[in-house]
Structure formats: C-alpha cells, structure tokens
C-alpha cells in the first residue's frame, strides 16, 4: 500500500463569474523514499491538488467535489480539523515557492522554527523550549546554515534568498514528516543556489527516507530529481509514468509540446551586427546607491554598476547574464538614463546622453525603449490597449488624430494581438498577451535600441517560446539593436549574438555566444554553465554527479 494514494480528486472554484474546474479527476500514488514530480504550466492545477491534501485551500470559493486521499490509510479530505492540524507539519510538510514572503518578518527564525515543537497539537509530543532549541540548531546545521547558534535569534530580513529557503526546509523537516510537498522551491532562486537546494533535498530524502512530491514547471529540474513524473494541464492528468518513459518515449502530444518549447542549442538566425558601427558606447560607467541599512558609520555604498565599459553594435542582440543582485538591471536602466549614474559616460549614436537636460533628452528617448519583466505591473491598469499604444505615438508626434487608429491597428498586428481587443484593459489579458502589449508600446516610437529586462522570466515555457520568436522577428523586420538581460542562460543562448557575464557590478567575461558556451574562460562562467539543469534525465544525472 503506497504512503499516499489519491484517486478521483475533483475540486471546483465557485467564483463570482462562474465555475472554474481547477482539478478534474486526478489520481496518483507516492511511496516512502520516492519522488513524484508534478509538471505543468501555471493554472494547470498542480498546486491546488497538493494544497487540498492539507486543507490549505480558501474554503468559500474552493469546494472538494469528489475523490479520496488516503495517507497511511486515513482519508485526508474528510478528517476532522483537529486531526488535520496534527497531520500538518508532523506527517505531511510543505516547502513554499517564495522564501522572501514565506517567513514571518516580525518573529525571529528561531522562534518560528521551534513553534511546531512547542505548540504541537497532540500534547504528548510537546517539547520544552530548551530541547526544542537544541533540535532546531542541529537541524539548521544539517541544512547548511553556517554558525546556527548565533543566527538562531536573527530575523528573516537578515538572510539571503537561498539561506531562507534552507530555513524553510529545516522548518518543514523539524517534526520528521513522512511526506514532503515542495511547491516550486527553487524557481525564485538563482541557478547556482538552485542546484545546492536540489542537492540538499535529495540528500535529506535519502537520510530520512521521506516521500517527496515535487511541483515544478521547469523540466530540467524535474529530470534531475524525479523518480516518477505526472504531467498536468487544465486540471487533468495528461500523462504519468517513470521519468525515463516520460522524457524519452512519451506519446502524449502535450508532453511533447512542453519538451519542444525548452530553448536549447545555439541561435539559428544570422548575426546581423554591423561590425565597426557601435550604436551605444559605454565607458567606465559607475552607479552607486547609498546603503541605508548600514548607514551608521560614514557613507557606505552598494556598487551596483562598478566601472563597466561596453559597446553595442548596431543590429546586434547583446545578451547580459548574471545572478540576481549582479547589477544587470541597473546597468540597463543607467544606459537609458532612468537611474542616476555616479560617473562615466553613455554615448548613443555619437551624443553623450549624460550632459543632456531632461528636456533635451526627450527626442533621444524616442530612439531607445525598454521592455519590463512583470507583465502585470508594467501596464497602467486604468488605460486601455488603445490608449497605451497611442500615447507614445501622439506624444512624439509620430501620428495625428486621423492616422492614429490605423497605426495602432498596425502595431497590434506586429505583436499578434486581435484588433477586437483594442478597447480592453490589461486585467482582461493573460500574461503572454500583456507582454505583447508592452512590446508593442516599446516599438511604437520606431526606436533603434531596445533594452529588454528579463522579458520572459515571468512567463510559462510554451508562451516564453512564442514571445522569444516574436522578439527575433521584430528585430529582423525593424532592424533593431537589443540588449537582452536575463538570468536564464538557455534563453540568452537561444536569442543573443554575443553574451556578457556580469557578477557583483563587474563584467566578468564577454564573447560570441557559441565560443562562450564552448570554452568559458572565467571560473564564474563555468560555474554558471555547469549549473543549468538539462531536460534529459541521463545527461542531467551525469551533470549532477560531477558537480
């Protein structure tokens, strides 16, 4: 009998505008020491399935229509709330996605760690504070927190993203649960830290013989960690089987489509860079921020961009890669004069932008535009698509009242949006469509340079592929030059002609894409390349083996 057996699970959401079938007749099983990966795009119901097991769904909209979930023979869906509280944390534990918001900022991590031990539901297992503290510190050490004794009383904001995820793992394991549900635990982390966390989970699973349900949309990660895989889409299970069967011999077309959408291999389009005519020349650019937190002793600076010099050739797509906090976004914004630079110059087509007053800068702004990361935040919620697209055209005088309609329709065609949606508001579009609007806005003023700051990282892998192809087509058609900023190396490899690697405000290495991939010079670049998970179980297991 498997540790957890779920069959016929059906969950509907009764929302204001109708019924949403989040989970529709899902069945699966997990044994102790085994890892089941649930793969699917956002909105496929993978999280809802797992949360329903621990009754973590908001009851008013969500209703469990049918199905059973037997854990050690006990049906989780119908058990008494008090019993459910006993199961939570001690039999089944959860690791959430975003470490930044999953820890209570007002309470020290030590206190949050020993809570389940001290206030445990069934009285017998309650520990006194001293032993609980001892256990917690040992566990912190086990999950790799250096000098846990001192860090016990620190607050969450004093830890980095990776460190916090380790605390989350410790918190989940503190009561020796039988089943561990990991809801995209590494998506919010950088690729190098992601590798360490995955390795930690693997090790803990071995030593504690824990069953793991690993939810993810990243097939590369799943290939490395999963024993069995289940592919979900729109609330239904499209395919299930062990990892090799899914990756190598899958018959289901949805799974095939998922595998095909992963960008890999070199860029196909020819490199159109005109060698000796740089559009943008940046020399010794420095952007420092005064660091308020340690402002007690004198002026302490965060050196976001530290003495960077680069050229962007006309017609070229230059990739800029680096982990979070490496200063790549600040560099992009400094070039566009959106962030105040401390020193150094940015020359755009022969003119030094730094000396221009905001008034004089306006014509130059027309010629350089930016695409942002979060499709939900980069569009004004109170302006229709028509207004968002027409604003730059009218403002820069590229269109007048009678040609504007036609030009906006033209723009919508360029980015693949139906004209009928012209009067709609951003909240009525999906993530991918919104990013198309943002791109439309960027190319509206016929710019020469576009700086794309992680344009696809917030999107699902299938939609990611469509947007990347759209960008490549637009660069081709409008003869654009682009600086493509991302932390996802395979995406950068797929789209850019040349790549620069940035770490802690400094350009570590820069070369043609394929030469960099072939033999990276710097150790840091090698580290980065090695850490990319591959959507092929054999290769991935090899890669993990020799890290």
């Amino acid at each position: 009998m498997a540790l957890l057996e779920v069959n016929g699970l059906t969950i509907y959401f009764h929302t204001r505008n109708g019924l949403v079938k989040a989970v529709d007749d899902v069945s699966f099983a997990v044994d102790a020491g085994e890892t089941l990966a649930i793969v699917g795009e956002s909105g496929s119901g993978k999280s809802v399935t797992c949360y329903s097991l621990l009754d973590l769904l908001p009851k008013p909209p969500a209703v469990i229509e049918a199905g059973t979930a037997l854990f050690d023979g006990e049906d989780l869906l119908t058990c008494h709330p008090a019993r459910m509280r006993e199961i939570r944390g001690s039999d089944i534990a959860v690791i959430f996605q975003d470490p930044m918001t999953s820890l209570n900022p007002f309470i020290s991590i030590g206190e949050q760690l020993i809570e389940p031990l001290i206030y445990h539901q069934n009285k017998t297992q309650r520990k006194d504070r001293k032993t609980a503290r001892k256990m917690a510190i040992d566990l912190l050490d086990e999950v790799g927190i250096i000098n846990p004794e001192a860090r016990f009383d620190c607050y969450p904001h004093e830890f980095s993203g990776g460190m916090r995820q380790r605390v989350m793992i410790a918190m989940a394991l503190i009561n020796q649960p039988g089943l561990l549900i990991c809801d995209e635990p590494t998506t919010a982390l950088d690729v190098t830290i992601q590798a360490q966390i995955l390795e930690l989970i693997k090790k803990l699973q071995k030593t504690r013989d824990v069953a793991v349900i690993f939810i993810s949309h990243d097939l590369g990660v799943v290939a490395g960690i999963a024993d069995k895989v289940m592919v979900m889409c729109d609330g239904t299970v499209r395919e299930a089987g062990d990892t090799a069967q899914i990756f190598y011999h899958s018959e289901n077309d949805y799974t095939k489509k998922l595998l095909a959408a992963i960008p890999e291999g070199a860029k196909v389009q020819p490199n159109r860079a005109e060698k000796h005519k740089p559009l943008v020349e940046v020399s010794h650019l420095k952007t420092y921020f005064s660091d308020s937190s340690k402002a007690s002793d004198g002026k302490q600076f965060i050196k976001a961009v530290d003495d960077v010099s680069l050229n962007i050739q006309r017609g070229e797509i230059l990739g800029l890669v680096g982990e979070s906090g490496s200063g790549k976004s600040t560099l992009g914004r400094s070039i566009l004069q959106l962030a105040p630079t401390t020193s150094g110059t940015v020359i755009f087509d022969g003119t030094v932008l730094g000396d221009l007053s905001p008034k004089q800068l306006v014509p130059w702004r027309r010629r350089m535009q930016m695409i942002f990361q979060d499709p939900y935040a980069s569009l004004n919620p109170r302006m229709t698509v028509y207004e968002t697209l027409s604003e730059p055209l009218l403002y820069h005088g590229l269109a007048n009242s009678n040609t504007i309609d036609q030009q906006v329709r033209q723009l919508m065609d360029d980015v693949g949006l139906a004209h009928s949606q012209m009067r709609k508001y951003p909240h009525e579009f999906s993530g991918g469509q919104r990013q198309r609007i943002a791109i439309g806005r960027a190319i509206a003023t016929r710019p020469e340079l576009i700086i794309a700051d992680e344009p696809v990282s917030a999107l699902d892998v299938t939609i990611q592929a469509q947007i990347l192809d759209l960008i490549l087509a637009l660069v081709e058609r409008h003869n654009l030059t682009m600086l493509f900023i991302s932390h996802d190396l395979s995406v950068v490899r797929y789209i850019s002609d040349r790549v620069m690697v940035m770490n802690k405000g400094v350009i570590v290495e820069s070369a043609e894409t394929e030469t960099l991939w072939a033999n990276p010079q710097q150790e840091y670049t090698r580290q980065l390349l090695k850490a990319i998970p591959l959507a092929d179980p054999k290769q991935e297991r090899m890669r993990i083996g020799n890290i």
Binding site: T15, R16, N17, P61, R333, L336, L338, L361, V362, R365, R366, Q369, M370, F372, Q373, D374, A377, S378, L379, N380, P381, R382, M383, T384, E391, P392, Y395, H396, A418, H419, S420, Q421, M422, R423, K424, Y425, H427, E428, A438, R441, T445
Partner: protein, 293 residues
C-alpha cells in the same frame, strides 16, 4: 475562435469603471447606501417646494407636540414643524459635508500627489508643513475663528475643510509613493513624458480608489465636527438649523420630548450608515485585486 462576429464588437470592452459598477450592483448594502443618499439629496434640493410648513412658522400655542396627522414628526418647543426643520437641517448638514470634503479632497489629493511623486527635499518640506498643521490644535483655532470673525457658514466650511485635508494628503502620498515604484510609471518615464503628464495621466487615476473610499468616510466626520461646533454654540446659527443643532437641542429635552431627538438622530445616522456602506462597497469594487477573480 469565431473571428468575424468579434469584428462587430470592435469597440466593446469593459472599462474599469463599468467593471466596478457591475461589481457594485451586486453589493446590496452599497446599493442601499447609494439609494438613501440620492433620496436625501433630492429631498434636500426640493425642500423649499415640498416642505409642509415654512421653516420659520411658529405656533407658540401649540408648543412641543408629538407626531400627529398635520405634523408627521411632531413640533419643537416653538411649535415649528419638525419634518420641515429636519429637511432644512439636512440641506445645511449635507452642504457642510460635501463642500468641506470637496475642499479637503482638492487640496489633499494635489498636495499628496506632488509630495509623493517629486520626493526628496520638496517632499520633506511639504510633509513638515503637514506635520505643522497636524500640530496646530485645530479645535482651538476653529473656536477662535468663530469667536473672532463671527459665525458665517463659509468660514465654517473652510475651517472644517482645512482640518480634513491633512489625512487625505498623507493617504494620497503613501499611495503615490507605492505607485511611483511600479514599472508602468518607469515605462512612462522612459517614453520621455513630462512629470506633470505622468502625474495627471498615470498617477492620479490610480489613486482614485482609496481616495473615493476616504471621501465617503470624511463626509460623516465633517458632519459630526459641525454637530460638535453646534454643541459649543459656534456652529450654525438660528433660525437656520442643521442636524447637529437639532440633535443638540433634542438632547437637552430628551426625557420630556423624545421625538425632538429621535427623528434628527435617525436622519443623521441613516446618512452616515449609507455613506459608510457605499464607501466599503466602492473600496471593494475599485480594488484591482478583486478585479482579477
């Protein structure tokens, strides 16, 4: 997707306001509030024509009598018809409420938007000014103003408005500070739009949600402030009356003539309840987060 029939509905599309209206119409309490408010405003506007008696008409022989056929809500100690007094009182109270709130809204929103958006030194100076105004014990100034310059209604509106805009400015400022970091404002900057255009087209429309909600909360507190001033004998002067004044007199003769207190009390609390329900309803309707589900 059937493309052709979509072509005809080229211009369709629910605007956020229509969306808000749809959600609002599902919230019965808010509708109830809106209905009451419209009724009261209409009644106040038409008072001179529909009031059963002249608001000055005294009948000393009658004195204070309970609700009767010809005086539905009874009469006050001068024999004046209470229904008429409440209607005229409503006119005054509602005008005080709306005008003072309008003053607060106008100054508050502009002040908050500029301080929040520009930031840096100007923001610090503007906010210090707000702190100064907060530090002034305004109750003391209102009493002094009334005592020094006598009681005309205009001064009352301005004085009350000057008390209320402070909190409005702070709310708008915090709202704008949050919006300023949003990417669509940065995108507007990258388009090269001037600061004033950005404030006008991007910032202020997005602050209207909380602002509207706060206005529906300011009106009651302004009415209560007027009632408080009447209690001090500094608010509206006879023969005009306002709900605050009527309640004030009603409280004095609560045991002998309870209807002099009950009816104006009901009128005031009904209005305040209506405003608060409407305010809550608007807040939920305009909150983009609820717009998503």
């Amino acid at each position: 997707m059937v493309a052709d029939n979509l072509q005809q509905q080229e211009e369709c599309g629910t605007s956020l306001w229509q969306d808000a209206w749809v959600k609002l119409s599902k919230n019965y309490l808010a509708l109830f509030g809106l209905g009451i408010l419209c009724l009261l405003t209409v009644v106040s506007l038409l008072t001179p024509w529909i009031a059963p008696y002249g608001y000055e008409e005294q009948n000393l022989l009658l004195g204070a009598t309970g609700p009767s056929l010809d005086h539905w809500l009874g009469t006050d100690i001068f024999g004046r018809d209470m229904l008429t007094r409440i209607m005229y009182g409503g006119r005054v109270s509602l005008t005080v409420g709306f005008i003072a709130t309008a003053v607060a809204l106008l100054i508050g929103v502009l002040w908050g938007a500029i301080a929040g958006f520009v930031g840096g030194r100007t923001d610090a100076v503007m906010m210090r000014i707000v702190d100064i105004m907060y530090a002034l014990p305004f109750m003391i100034f209102i009493v002094l103003l009334m005592v020094v310059f006598g009681r005309n209604i205009l001064l009352l509106f301005l004085a009350i408005g000057a008390v209320e805009w402070l909190t409005m400015a702070r709310i708008v400022r915090s709202q704008v500070m949050a919006l300023r970091k949003q990417e669509f404002v940065e995108a507007a900057h990258s388009l090269g739009l001037s600061e004033w255009t950005i404030i006008r087209r991007h910032i202020i429309p997005n602050t209207l949600g909380p602002v509207i909600v706060y206005t529906t909360l300011t009106i009651p507190s302004v009415m209560l402030l007027e009632a408080f001033l009447s209690f001090l004998g500094l608010g509206i002067q006879p023969p005009q009356s306002s709900w605050g004044l009527l309640i004030n007199y009603g409280v004095e003769t609560m045991e002998e003539y309870p209807w002099l207190l009950i009816f104006p009390g009901i009128a005031l609390s009904l209005t305040l309840f209506a405003l608060n329900f409407l305010g809550d309803g608007l807040r939920d309707a305009l909150d983009p987060r609820t717009a998503k589900d």
